[in-house]
Symmetry: C2
Subunit: 205 residues, 2 copies
Amino acid sequence: MNSDNIPDIIIGRLPIYLRALQRMAEKGMKTSSQELGEHVGISAAQIRKDISQFGEFGKQGTGYSIGFLIDKLREILKIHHLWEVAIVGAGDIGHALARYQGFTNRGFRVAMIFDTDASKVGEKIGEFTIEDASKMVERIRAAKIKMAMVTVPASTAQEVTDKLVQAGVKAILNYAPTSINVPNNVRVQYIDPATHLQRMTYYLE
Amino acid sequence: MNSDNIPDIIIGRLPIYLRALQRMAEKGMKTSSQELGEHVGISAAQIRKDISQFGEFGKQGTGYSIGFLIDKLREILKIHHLWEVAIVGAGDIGHALARYQGFTNRGFRVAMIFDTDASKVGEKIGEFTIEDASKMVERIRAAKIKMAMVTVPASTAQEVTDKLVQAGVKAILNYAPTSINVPNNVRVQYIDPATHLQRMTYYLE
């Protein structure tokens, strides 16, 4: 089980399986890979093949126990412990993420939120106090935070990204509608509503 | 070219290719499928295979012209014309989406925004006026809007979804941290930051 050996595209499917499994568990369902495949729109054979990359999990044809699979996927994805995440940008999206209920049981906890706007610094969002972005590098480095969500305008996204990399952040979720450049040892994911909408227009009349 | 014949998983990759191509075009790049593959982390062979489902686009081995591919993908995804989208929920995310600059040239235009909160109705967000959600079904139906973004709390997401379906909406982008049920002829996509974060933790130390 070496990260160099498993294709990125397979890793990318695991959180989708995990989310489907957690939803099925909430509904009180047991599962087989057949049912899971129906939920996520990927074939049972593909799911079985993906999961087998990480070791044997169940007898072929008998399906998998939901609880066991959830635990295993959380372990593979390293979210069996909590990751602290910094938010940069206390605009609409920053506020929404600071209050977001969807991180619970998913492996993440918002730890701090920054903004450059002096009029926002010191303001409260729920349990958080907006901090001065000029202290960001030092604060993130001291707290050893490795993940950040960038919710600044497109025009400042690269500058913020460079500072996060300098602070030791290794994974960035970018909400700004622009691409950002990072060194090879840093990961980036994009929240891009247009891409999701485009996945659906194909099917519309 | 029949939507019944092309697997959903392939359709899902096309917006990713399109986004990568648009970014490459912005940087003034020409492309081959090799370069595109490097940008999106999917093999050139896979991309060629996906695109060939929709007809012959270029000579094998010579790569594709970016402009031609962008046009072709926009046509396949039916975003060569603008789709109007309704936003339901004028909270932080609703505000952010109403002001979002990332829909430009991607095929979408926000047309209206609704909220149930009487104190918000009539308030302006940029060019939009927040409308009373009690008029939503009638307004969306009259405007023949087929797409909506749901940014209400998890507790009311299903109720809002049912009304959107009743209004004739066929594609929903759900920001609420909960799953929603729709009839078979309606599509749903989820904006789920935890899933994106989980795609990255695997690679962290």
